[in-house]
């Protein structure tokens, strides 16, 4: 029996977190109730998006169009297709995990309802970004993501520097947003429509002279969100200062939105011929970012910064995979987004537990915690091995696909560098995990580990393992996106 779900369900996916955020601000529940409300509201989009899968298998994307402000060329168009699905799922899953983690991480006070409301708005920005089928709407959600996360860093950030860090985060990311905005308006003016579906079907989008400008603006703009070298400068500080649930959402979910933008707006709208000049720059930027991030990660002492720089490195793989323009490369890159989300969330959660337990965050002050925190150590081992790309954990699968995509291109030398560059990931992963859990005990465990934090970490470790052993269904889902890219040339 065919189970189909209506398009109006798209609205539910977006409206529930919004309504919950408004409720939290309006009612300001005391104590732990805010966390529970936020958790329930974060679970709905995850379930909601999974319910679209049967419809998608039957071959039609679910879409909804509500006329909104025709004078400004704006309509509320939402759509879920195979390309948005992996990103929406990653985002919704990470949000749920981060909110549950926050139950334990955050001690409730009178500002807690606002924090959960902002977390939900942050998540709403991300899910809206993946579901929007209109340039204006996409941009609204895109900036909502920035606004909510920036306020979270500003108000709940850790350390004296949070004001400066929030400032830097906002300015650098907004620079990227403005580039994207310029590109959108060039597209919008030429095509006369802000609707993505219309843009995708248009015969020729732009005069030939403007195509490279628009693609260039989009690529650079989205790279800022992806935090690829050299526009990654906001990332290490923002990740370090943000409270752990926000760091988890930033690193595991928000970075992927940059990848989504690249896939949706450059590869989704333009064909091979127009994208061809950008292949090599993308691959080179990917390799540079991969190696730079890994080296910086090796050089850092603060455990949060080590993992933060590893994001720069991992985004390098993704960009490299996209730049190959090959089937395994692109599917691998998308798969890497999902798996990186899982593993990065896991790593930060482990760090959160360690920092909570010891009160220390410098690698030199930590050590020998394995016997004291056995569960955390096992989770940490899973996360560390996964980020190092060890089989059978999940990131191995996606890295394999990215490399195999790379070897199908003419740039074998670059692929060889990428492959050997991944050794650096092994080095920083081992340095981090061995430094924390093995060796002489330097910092005593002084505080209990809240159960909400531990449970969510264990669940995520299991996911990382299962996803690595059984990646086939996910690969099948993601491969469907290829029909939406490069004019469906595959």
């Amino acid at each position: 029996m065919a189970f189909r779900i209506g398009a109006s369900w798209l609205l539910v996916v977006l409206a529930v977190p919004l309504a919950a955020a408004i409720l939290l601000v309006a009612v300001r529940p005391r104590g732990r109730a805010s966390g529970w409300i936020a958790g329930a509201a974060a679970a709905v989009p995850l379930v909601g998006i999974l319910l679209f899968v049967p419809s998608l298998w039957q071959g039609d994307a679910v879409s909804l169009a509500i006329p909104w402000a025709p004078m400004a060329g704006i309509s509320l168009d939402l759509r879920v297709d195979w390309l948005s699905l992996p990103f929406a799922l990653t985002e919704a899953g990470v949000t749920l995990v981060a909110v549950v983690y926050a139950w334990g991480y955050h001690t409730p006070d009178e500002r807690t309802p606002y924090m959960y409301a902002l977390l939900l708005l942050f998540a709403l920005g991300m899910s809206g970004t993946t579901l929007a089928d209109d340039l204006f709407l996409f941009f609204v959600f895109w900036e909502m993501m920035l606004l909510a996360s920036c306020l979270l860093i500003l108000v709940w950030g850790e350390g004296e520097q949070r004001g400066a860090v929030a400032f830097k985060y906002f300015v650098v990311t907004h620079l990227g947003s403005l580039m994207v905005l310029m590109a959108f308006l060039l597209l919008f003016n030429e095509a006369g429509s802000a609707r993505l579906t219309t843009l995708r079907e248009a015969e020729s989008l732009l005069p030939a002279a403007r195509v490279p400008i628009v693609i260039g603006l989009l690529l650079v703009g989205f790279s800022v969100k992806m935090a690829v070298f050299p526009v990654h400068i906001w990332l290490p500080d923002a990740h370090t200062v943000a409270p752990m649930p926000v760091t988890i959402m930033l690193a595991a979910a928000m970075l992927s939105m940059g990848t989504y933008g690249v896939l949706r707006f450059t590869m989704g709208l333009f064909g091979f011929r127009e994208m061809a000049p950008f292949a090599l720059p993308l691959m080179i930027a990917g390799v540079v970012s991969e190696i730079y991030g890994a080296l910086m990660s090796l050089a850092e002492e603060d455990v949060k910064r080590i993992v933060a720089y590893s994001s720069v490195s991992q985004m390098g793989y993704i960009l490299y995979g996209l730049g190959t323009y090959t089937q395994p490369g692109i599917v691998g890159a998308t798969l890497h987004v999902v798996f990186h989300g899982i593993v990065k969330a896991l790593l930060f959660m482990v760090l959160g537990l360690v920092i909570r337990a010891t009160g220390k965050r410098q690698l030199g002050e930590l050590g020998g915690l394995g016997p004291r925190l056995p569960t955390v150590a096992v989770c940490g081992a899973v996360g560390g091995l996964a980020i190092a790309g060890a089989p059978p954990l999940c990131l191995f699968v996606s890295e394999w696909m990215i490399f195999s995509g790379g070897f199908r291109t003419a740039h074998i030398a670059l692929s060889v560098i990428t492959l050997f560059g991944s050794l650096l990931s092994v080095a920083y992963a081992l340095r981090l995990m061995l430094g924390i859990f093995v060796g002489k005990l330097k910092a005593e465990v002084i505080e209990a580990r809240p159960r909400a934090m531990l449970t969510s970490t264990v669940v995520l470790s299991a996911t990382a393992l299962v996803a690595g052993i059984l990646p086939t269904p996910l690969i099948a889902w993601i491969s469907e996106e290829l029909s939406l890219l490069m004019g469906g040339a595959w």
């Binding site: 402000a69 004078m71 204006f136 609204v140 900036e143 004001g163 620079l175 403005l178 310029m182 060039l186």
Partner: protein
Amino acid sequence: MTGEAWVVLPLASLAVGALMVAFLARVVTQDNGWLAATSAMSFGVGLLATGLVAVEAQAWHQVTGTWPVWGSPEPGGAVLRADPGALLLTGVAMALGLLVAIYSGRYLSLDRRYMTYYPLLILLVIGLSALLKAADLFTLYLACELMGITSYVLVAFRCETDTSVEAGFKYLMLSSAGTMSMLMGVGLIYRATGSLLLPQPATDSIWARAGLACVATGLAVKVGMVPLHTWLPDAQGRAPSSISAMLAGAVEGAALYALLKVCLGLGLSPRALGTVLVAVSLANMCVGNLMALGQTYTKRLLAYSTIAQMGYVMLAVGIGLRECANEALQAGFYMLLAHAVMKALAFLSKGAFHFYCGVTEMDDLRGVARRLPLASGSIIVAVVGLIGMPPLAGFAGKWLVLAEVIRASDALAVIGAVLFVANVLLSLGYYLPLIARLFAPLELAEPPIVLSRWMGLPLVLLAGLVLAMGIQPQPWLRLTEGIGPYLLALAQGG
């Protein structure tokens, strides 16, 4: 006197209101709350009357193709016209006046002499709406003077502080120089053409051209066009916050509209006017934003941001006139509305900080978020809107303006687009630290203060409006629909 007498209904109702408030203060009660409520009521009646006139004028326009006029067209007579832009901006001024009057119900309660404040506030709006509706140059001049004189007094209202008096005096000097220039221009035009009516056919007379330049200069001072903006940071920075809100939200927009009406009505081609406006707008953006970066006084910072934001408005309007594109003019006027609401909200929130916590400098804002949560929330909405973040009014404005500028795509527009984006980025440099300071940690934890309802209500309403305008720009765009065709028709001699 001929024509449609109902055109002056809003003005008349406000005049009655001003007299009533003055009478009330002199004879019945000197209670600030009563005076504020009465003023608010007369603004409310004025707003209602403006709405009625707008509906009626729209119907009139559909039948006759012209906009209703009242007055005597003979030399020496005054003529008022209810055109769409005038009605819209009058409505904005009345609505802001209403909110400012309510706000003053608490804000002014510690001042002396507030019985003169309310009649002056109403007179300011009378002058402003007469300026907007004036269809002959002499009425335009008179209205401009009325608006000016009341605002000088209101800027220097807190005359016990030297800086307010200084600011009022500076405003008086510069603005009077402007109105003098206007009066001279009116004389020159009368000499050249023998008529003061707007619009009038273009002539090649050098005197008429010189006269137009003089009138335009006078109005440019009021708009705060660079380099005639020097009074603005002092006036808006030193006036009571409620008056700064009126100046930034209503007076500047009205002066800009009057400038457009006069220039086009006297036969300047839209393309020439548009080019000048785009050039000035670029100067306004850059000067406003660069100067704002260095400010240590919160209100002065907001005042410089007004100069920059008027630059964004003029950019879109200028592009619209150059290309004769109504969409761009609509974008410009939408931006003007959005700016009026956002800047009024910012100034009124700042007023609350000053009233309860004595905030004047930027550093006084440290940790205020915990003490005044409502006002902090509203200033965040205002400033984030001014940055142009969705889903607030400023973002819809930014999107519309940038879209139109990019669409024009000639060399000037490309420069405009690049400078616009650069300026948006530049403005983050002062808007963000303002927000960040609100959340700075404080050693002394003081209990939160509950805002008076008089002050809380306007803040909540304006913040709601900023959100509503951003979420659904359609109705607000619809309000601006008729302005472009009217202005472009003026350029063809009516």
